[in-house]
Structure formats: structure tokens, C-alpha cells
């Protein structure tokens, strides 16, 4: 117990004035409610119609809480998935759960189902139906839950970045590391980049951008993002480098000071409405109030100054971005209305001075959607070309979708979204809370989730929404998707409702689907490794690798050469689990994950960071060539869940990842904070070379890049770069900027 902290905060008290003011506000609000009810109601009771509204606000708030914790912890989507399974509610039901249904069929072969709105009336009618429907609040919950799985880049200061060589097979002649990307030639945004001459670092927690000259070891250019302005707050998210240009992506929150008044007014108005059917829905072509927008700025460095060449903005919360040949593709999700103005339907908007001054909005009849969309959000895709600064930005929008994240090949951009369903689920989410009798719709399948996809073809600035489809189960992350010969391979974990006398939960199994260009399933392996979940996935051409986990880690090898007949051909069962698989060469994979041990309660617990080196040259007999177990239960690496934190060079035979250790008593383990360097030998595997210790915040993340024969270990949140000799790991200098 720290007395000083307590004493400090004891001094902080709510003023009586503020408290009285609050009580008065609440009294007035309750009065308004009561006056608008036919029957007198007790304090805090609401007229019927409004209860659902408050439930909506309340439950959405709760789920936002969940999503914000998700973002604090930076957990992957599987954390969310497991949360679903632990939902326990007592129900009086026979012991035997209903038999799981047959797998949900993937979307029918109706290629023409993607359409555009005929006009404003159609959008308004759909919005009205969705926003007034009984399931509206649960819809909202699920959308909020979806938000949690977005990999919107820096959730917190500790989510930083690193650099690495390109994907397997690259023979880069330039001697500096690049961001470790999923697909060769498809660059991914990051907070640290280098071009060999300069190191570019985004300090996300402080909102700073610094460019450091590698030769002089001095900051040559700096920029500060205004995070705490009274009207706006800018948050840097990531960057690209292209032919001497710097692309900075940031998020801007803009504050509307009159919202609160509006909100009170709306509440009052709502309760006075005679008939919901008469509610007037309107379209607003401005930026949606109280929602974020994503800003993309292109800079040149001229005479030591950062010179803005171009800036564009697009409505919505940033999802992710990619760059191919100087075309920057960036995506946002955007609710079509805000809580505060829910009769106002906003259109996707953007700003691009090349086209016009001010805010531009998407024409309603240029927005894609499919029948019966299960969301009221838009996913927006913006593209600019860095070689053509005078060419207009292109924007496409899909209504009824908010993408969890993206996977991009050189030809197609794939969006995916988890849809939550389940025969009993809605009862437990809604009816059970209200104390209603259980009523379930027998036509709803037992899967608690499905994943739907959009395929968007990409050719430079030309993007076209081409296909929509879905598969059972949930996708873990971008590595769960891969395109090969025009087909999409997707690995999912399927959650199937199971219910007995005491609880409601779900059972898992795993699947691999192969979808054609219309996103119709043409091949599949279903139901493997029952009771386990997918922890990592990687594809290499016609081969697939899936790690599932419950207590032991099977690495499954798959032959996907015939897309209509995919097969599991091998299985390696070893203790521990790989949370990320790094392709090394065509015969080897490096697993970064955890070693596990019995926790004494019938489960397992982490016992250390585990690096595995797999030989997959014989697909029917994958081998763990060697493994390293480092530290103790407190030891982990950002590389387990963020591939951009992994530095790998096949040419140099090195692997460097951040490492964090905390042990309450063991001071040796505490030394394991910084970056850990491994030698990689194609035949013998991985061996530990040394630790580059942190200088700034001891437990903070650090990323390592190399330029020439030196490592540059960057602590982006402490503005420190340590320079090491790559062979001896001797500290050469420290750049404290």
C-alpha cells in the first residue's frame, strides 16, 4: 500500500457545487421522463419506448468498455472469442444440448447481390428500419464488440513497431531492414521505418514524429501532433515511405461543444413523439458529429524542413492501410449515425483539395450494399497515388459493414467482419436480462458466429467491390487469410452453442475454407481439432500451416494444391503454442509463442517465451528442429502478436524480437527487457546471441532495425536509439533525441 499516493488523491474531492448541479440535472431529466408518460411512474422508470433506448445506451456503453479494455490490453480477437464462450447463465433445460446444425452454407451463388442504393429514399428506409427494429440495440452491441477486434494500430503507447526484411524469398540488395509484412510487395504501415539514410520514428504516446540522420545521429526534422487541443485531438497511427516521400496517417477527433444541448433536446423531443412511424429521418452531408476521421498527409523533406505536399481526410475510425507501387489504400469504419443525432443519417465524407475545397460527400447511389445488411456502419476505402499528387483521391464505401481488419494481396483487398448469431444467444443478451420467457427462433443456426467477406479488386487507383460471401466461424487475424491462384483460403475457429442444465457456452472446432473469386466455398476441411482454437495460421503457396491449442500444440500441415480437395497431411504435437509463425525459407518456419505447463488446476499456464524452429520440408512429417525457452511465466514478446515487431534477415541469419519480463522476485528475469537477438542457421535452427537492454522505460517495448552492420534499437516512447555492432552486440552510441 502506498500511503503517499493515497494521501495525494485524498486531496481530490468533488465540489459540493458540482454535486448539487449533477443532482439537479438528474432530477430534471427524470421529471421530463415522467411528464411524458401516460401513467405515473416511479422515479427512474421510463416510458416503454425509452427503455430500449436507455438499454441501448447502457449496454452499448458496457460493450464500449469491453472494447476499450480490449484496446488497452492489445489482446487479439481470440480473447474476445473466448469471452463469448464463458457466458454463463442458468437455464432450466434438458441435459442434452441440441445437436449442432449442419454448417451454415456460405453465401449463395448470387453474384449480383452487391448493389448500390437507388437513391436517398432507399438509404433512409433501410436506416429507419434498422434503427427502429427491436434488435437494434443488440445490433449495436455486436457492432461495438466488433470494434474491439479492429487492429487499429496503436491502441496504447506500448504498441509500437519494428522493421524486418520482406517476406520469404526476397533478395533485397539494399542493406537495411524493412517492415516485416505479410505479402511481398504489399507494404504495411508502421511507426518505425528507415530508408538507410534516416530513421523515421513515431512516438505515439507523445504524438511526436522525428526523423534522425543515421550518419550525424541528430534529429533533422520533427513534427508534433496536437493531441490536446481544445477543439481537436490528433493521434499519429502509422507511416509509409515512398521515393523520398513520407506518408503520415493520423486520427483526428473533433469536438462539438453544443452536442450536450442537442442531446437534451433530442431526449425531450423523443419522448414527445406520438408515433415512431412519423419520425423524420434526414441525410446530413457533413462530417458526422462526434466521430473521428482519418488524415493522410504526404510530406517531402526539403532543406531540412518537412514540407506538406498533400493532405486528405476521410470520415471514420482508422482500420488499416497498405501500399502497393505508391498507391496508398487506407480504410475506415464509420457509423452512419451518432448516438446524439440518431435520426440523422450521415454519408461517407472526405476532403481532397485536388478535387475541391471543403467537405465532399459520397453520392447515395454510389454506395455499395447487399440486401439485409446486418450493420448500420460504413466501411470506407480511400486511395491516393503518391506519384500523381494532382490526381483526385478515390473513395469507395460499403454500407452495412464494419470491417474487423483487412488482408491484401497484390490484386485484391479482402475485408472481413464477424457476425454474432446463435439460436439462444439473443435471448441471453436481451430477453434474459429483461426477465422474459425464453423464446428462441428454431431457424437460427447454432453457430455463435460467422464471418462475412468482401473482395475488392485493386489495380492501382482503380478499386471495385466485386464479391461478398461468408463462412462459419471466426477469423483470428490477417494471417488467417491468403490468396493463391485467385482463390481465398481462410482458417476459422467455429463456436457452436452448447447448453446444458447449468450453463450456456460454446464448443469449438476449426475449419479451413477455400473460396473462389465470387467468395463461394469450393473446398473445405471442417471440424478439425475439436475443443481447440486456432492460435496462428500461415500459408506458403499451396501449403497451409495451422496451430491450434488447448493443452498441447498441434502444428497441422495442409496440402492445398487442389482447392477443391484440401487435406491435412501432417501433424506435430509438442508442448507449448506458437502465437505467430514467421516464414523463414521454403522448408522452415519459426514459431514465436509460449511454453506452457500444468497450472495444477487441470489447466495450463505460461511458463516462458518459446522460440521453435520447424522443418516442414516433409509435409507429412513436420519436425521441431530445435526450441528455446526463455525466462519465466512473466516473459513475453510483442512479436507474438505483432508481426511488425519481428526483425528477420535470412541473409544475415538473424532474428530479433522485443522481450519483456517481469518477475516479482527474480531479478535475473528482470534483465530480459529490451530486444533479444538470435542467430538462425537453416539446418540447426535458432540460438540465442544476446540481449539489447532497454535504457528508457524498463518494461517498454523496443524495436530493432538494422542499417549496414549496425543494429538500431529504438525505444519509440522514450525517444532513445541505441546503436550496436551487429556482430559483437557492443553498444556503440546512444542517440537521445
Amino acid at each position: 500500500m502506498n500511503g503517499k499516493y493515497k494521501d495525494t488523491f485524498d486531496e481530490i474531492k468533488v465540489s459540493e457545487e458540482l454535486k448539487m448541479n449533477l443532482k439537479e440535472k438528474i432530477r430534471k431529466e427524470n421529471e421530463t421522463m415522467e411528464n411524458n408518460t401516460e401513467e405515473p411512474m416511479a422515479n427512474n422508470q421510463r416510458p416503454k419506448r425509452n427503455i430500449s433506448t436507455w438499454l441501448l445506451v447502457g449496454v452499448a456503453a458496457c460493450l464500449l468498455v469491453i472494447s476499450c479494455f480490449e484496446s488497452i490490453t492489445g489482446f487479439q480477437s481470440r480473447r474476445l472469442a473466448s469471452a463469448n464462450t464463458t457466458n454463463t447463465t442458468v437455464v432450466d433445460e434438458p441435459e442434452d444440448p441440441d445437436k449442432p446444425d449442419e454448417p451454415i452454407q456460405t453465401a449463395s451463388g448470387d453474384v449480383d447481390k452487391i448493389k448500390k442504393f437507388s437513391g436517398e429514399e432507399e438509404l433512409l428506409a433501410i436506416s429507419k428500419e434498422k434503427l427502429n427494429s427491436a434488435s437494434r440495440w443488440s445490433d449495436m452491441i455486436l457492432e461495438s464488440a466488433d470494434m474491439a477486434t479492429m487492429d487499429a494500430v496503436p491502441k496504447s503507447a506500448t504498441v509500437a513497431t519494428a522493421e524486418t526484411t520482406q517476406a520469404v524469398g526476397t533478395n533485397s540488395s539494399s542493406d537495411y531492414s524493412r517492415t516485416n509484412v505479410q505479402v511481398e510487395d504489399v507494404d504495411e504501415e508502421d511507426i518505425i521505418k528507415t530508408d538507410g539514410k534516416y530513421i523515421y520514428v513515431l512516438n505515439v504516446s507523445e504524438g511526436e514524429f522525428n526523423v534522425i540522420d543515421v550518419d550525424t545521429q541528430k534529429v533533422v526534422v520533427e513534427k508534433t501532433f496536437d493531441r490536446n487541443n481544445r477543439t481537436t485531438s490528433d493521434r499519429p497511427l502509422g507511416m509509409f515511405l515512398y521515393k523520398g516521400k513520407i506518408v503520415l496517417i493520423s486520427d483526428r477527433s473533433e469536438y462539438y461543444f453544443d452536442l450536450y444541448e442537442d442531446y437534451d433536446y433530442r431526449v425531450k423531443n423523443e419522448t414527445n413523439e406520438e408515433n415512431e412511424e412519423d419520425e423524420k429521418f434526414v441525410i446530413d452531408r457533413g462530417y458526422a458529429r462526434n466521430q473521428d476521421r482519418t488524415i493522410v498527409e504526404v510530406y517531402n523533406i526539403e532543406n531540412g524542413e518537412l514540407k506538406l505536399e498533400r493532405a486528405v481526410g476521410m470520415s471514420g475510425y482508422y482500420v488499416s492501410s497498405r501500399m502497393i507501387d505508391g498507391n496508398v489504400y487506407f480504410l475506415t469504419n464509420e457509423p452512419s449515425y451518432s448516438y446524439y443525432t440518431n435520426r440523422t443519417i450521415y454519408l461517407p465524407t472526405w476532403e481532397d483539395e485536388v478535387k475541391a475545397e471543403g467537405v465532399l460527400s459520397k453520392e447515395v447511389n454510389d454506395i455499395y450494399y447487399i440486401e439485409n445488411p446486418d450493420s448500420t456502419s460504413y466501411t470506407n476505402i480511400g486511395v491516393i497515388n503518391l506519384d500523381k499528387p494532382n490526381e483526385e483521391m478515390k473513395v469507395e464505401s460499403i454500407y452495412g459493414f464494419n470491417t474487423n481488419s483487412i488482408y491484401m494481396s497484390t490484386d485484391n483487398l479482402y475485408l472481413w467482419k464477424t457476425n454474432y448469431t446463435g439460436r439462444y444467444r439473443f435471448y441471453y443478451l436481451d430477453g434474459a436480462i429483461k426477465g422474459e420467457e425464453e423464446k428462441v427462433d428454431e431457424s437460427i443456426p447454432h453457430d455463435t458466429s460467422t464471418t462475412s467477406f468482401y473482395r475488392i479488386s485493386v489495380d492501382g487507383m482503380n478499386i471495385k467491390v466485386e464479391a461478398n460471401g461468408s463462412v462459419p466461424g471466426q477469423v483470428l487475424n490477417q494471417f488467417s487469410l491468403d490468396e493463391y491462384n485467385g482463390n481465398l483460403r481462410v482458417a476459422t475457429t467455429r463456436y457452436i452453442e452448447s447448453r446444458n442444465k447449468m450453463n450456456y457456452s460454446s464448443e469449438t472446432n476449426n475449419n479451413l475454407y477455400i473460396l473462389d473469386k465470387n467468395l463461394e466455398t469450393i473446398g473445405k476441411i471442417e471440424g478439425f481439432e475439436e475443443g481447440e482454437k486456432i492460435y496462428s495460421v500461415r500459408f506458403m503457396g499451396a501449403r497451409g500451416f495451422v496451430v491450434t491449442f488447448e493443452a498441447i500444440d498441434p502444428l497441422l500441415t495442409m496440402d492445398l494444391s487442389d482447392p477443391r480437395d484440401p487435406k491435412i497431411v501432417g501433424k506435430l504435437e509438442i508442448p507449448g503454442v506458437s502465437n505467430y509463425m514467421q516464414l523463414y525459407d521454403e522448408n522452415h518456419i519459426i514459431g514465436i509463442g509460449e511454453d506452457v505447463g500444468d497450472n495444477g488446476h487441470g489447466g495450463y499456464t505460461r511458463t516462458g517465451l518459446k522460440i521453435s524452429y520447424f522443418d516442414i520440408s516433409d509435409m507429412s512429417n513436420p519436425i521441431e528442429v530445435n526450441k528455446l525457452i526463455i525466462g519465466d511465466s512473466s516473459t513475453s514478446s510483442e512479436g507474438e502478436y505483432n508481426h511488425k515487431a519481428v526483425l528477420l534477415s535470412k541473409e544475415k541469419g538473424i532474428l530479433v524480437i522485443p522481450i519483456t519480463s517481469y518477475s516479482w522476485d527474480d531479478s535475473d528475469t528482470r534483465e530480459l527487457n529490451g530486444s533479444i537477438v538470435f542467430n538462425v542457421d537453416a539446418q540447426r535452427g535458432v540460438s540465442q546471441k544476446g540481449i539489447l537492454k532497454n535504457d528508457g522505460r524498463m518494461f517498454d517495448t523496443s524495436r530493432t532495425i538494422y542499417i549496414g552492420d549496425k543494429y538500431y534499437k529504438i525505444e519509440p516512447n522514450s525517444n532513445i536509439i541505441n546503436v550496436y555492432d551487429m556482430n559483437s552486440l557492443e553498444l556503440l552510441s546512444t542517440i537521445d533525441y
Binding site: 500500500m1 488523491f9 522505460r697
Partner: protein, 160 residues
């Protein structure tokens, strides 16, 4: 739909939990006027959801969660007067001011864990549940935060 009258009276909740909510908000947002707004918003939301609060402990947990949420979104700062600069929290002693300043330099999540641990006397397991994460993560955050504070403010193991 049936509604049941809540066992919890809103004014009782305000009287009992005002300082808890306010201090947590301050630890999160650091500025007086933003904390004021977060505080009000939390109880306005409570009033709208009070029928769903089942018990005293549910109430407390609900308030902590929603306070973190409201502070996180910083929604309230949008409703402040544009003319004014954020107002700092004032302390009676220089030492308390310094401690507060150093705590504010910590990451948001560290601040939250420190506050719940040191001020609300919550157990690691309770904080883990509250933040929907596991105990080892909370231990890690707590220890990182303590290390940073020790470095910045001095003092030995027992102090932080």
C-alpha cells in the same frame, strides 16, 4: 417489457460514490474540468441504467467500468467551454503535486491499475476481472508503473 424498481437510489449512489468516481476520473484525465464532466456523465448514465443494477458491489464495479470508459473516450472534453484552458488539479503540498505529475506521465493503463490498486485497495484478481485481462498482465503493468515511479520519485521497494 417489465421494469422493476431499482433497489438503488440515485442520490444515495451520488453521495456515496462521488469521490470514488471523481478520483478515478482525475487519475485518468488529469484535468479538473474534464474530470468534472466525466463525473457528471457517469452518474447521468447510472441514472438511466439504475434499474439494471443488482447490488451494491455491482454498482461499484459498474461505476468504475463506466468511469474508465467515459474517461477513455474523452467524450466529455468535447462539451467543455472552448474559451477556457484545461484547469489543473491543485494540491496543498509540493510533494503531492509532484507525485500527481509523475503519475500523470504514466501510460493510461498503468495509471488505472495504480489507482485501483493503491487507492481503491482492489486485489490483483479483481483488477484483472475489471479490466478483462489476466492477472499476470496486471502484475506486469503494476510493476512497470512502480518501477517508473520509483525512478522518478525516489524511494525504495517498500514505498512503491
Amino acid at each position: 417489457m417489465q421494469t422493476t424498481k431499482s433497489n438503488i437510489d440515485i442520490n444515495y449512489a451520488i453521495d456515496k460514490y462521488s469521490n470514488m468516481v471523481y478520483r478515478l476520473a482525475v487519475s485518468r484525465v488529469g484535468k479538473k474540468d474534464i474530470a468534472d464532466d466525466v463525473y457528471q456523465e457517469v452518474f447521468i448514465r447510472l441514472n438511466r441504467n439504475i434499474n439494471k443494477i443488482e447490488s451494491e458491489s455491482h454498482l461499484k464495479n459498474w461505476l468504475i467500468k463506466v468511469t474508465i470508459n467515459c474517461s477513455k473516450t474523452e467524450l466529455m472534453s468535447k462539451w467543455n467551454n472552448i474559451e477556457e484552458l484545461p484547469e489543473d488539479i491543485k494540491f496543498e503540498t509540493e510533494e503531492h503535486h509532484e507525485i500527481f505529475e509523475e503519475v500523470q506521465k504514466l501510460d493510461e493503463k498503468y495509471r488505472t491499475v495504480i489507482h485501483l490498486f493503491y487507492y481503491e485497495d482492489m486485489k490483483i484478481s479483481e483488477i484483472a476481472e475489471m479490466l478483462d485481462t489476466n492477472e499476470s498482465t496486471i502484475k506486469t503493468w503494476l510493476s512497470r508503473a512502480r518501477d517508473i515511479l520509483r525512478k522518478a520519485l525516489g524511494g525504495d521497494e517498500n514505498e512503491w
